[in-house]
Symmetry: C2
Subunit: 84 residues, 2 copies
């Protein structure tokens, strides 16, 4: 399976705590194998309520489905083939 790197963006998570971010990430990791996704990193800004996740996945819909099942759908998912 060809894996592609993705950057996805969540909004509306104002006030998110370190514990909540860890729990959300772990929930994704717990079921990511169902779609062949590998969630690698996430960053959160509790003030703006934005969260960004970097993953590797077969396609963007696989990323979307995992995030939807764990209750925090991504509003945007971008392939990011370039990295430095």
């Amino acid at each position: 399976m060809v894996m592609v790197r993705f950057m996805d963006v969540h909004t509306g998570m104002q006030g998110i705590t370190e514990e909540a971010l860890k729990a959300a990430h772990q929930a994704d990791v717990d079921i990511q194998a169902d779609e062949g996704v590998d969630f690698q990193k996430a960053w959160a800004d509790p003030d703006s309520g934005k969260v960004w996740c970097v993953s590797e996945a077969p396609n963007a819909d696989a990323v979307r489905r995992i995030h939807e099942r764990t209750g925090h759908p991504a509003v945007e998912v971008y392939p990011v083939p370039l990295e430095v």
Copy 2:
């Protein structure tokens, strides 16, 4: 100096290549010490033209000034105190 992690976002970079991303990142790194910034990672989507950078810096304006001087201003800069 207290350092904060930032996620910044660029738009309008449709068609960006691996070489161009590396060159842009290196241009930032070359002058980042002027503002006490440490640019760590960048990801690009040539189709949407979006680029995301993670850095550590004293404040968001320091990040903005480096990106402006190197000719690729960030349209958004967010503190991301939470990371997983």
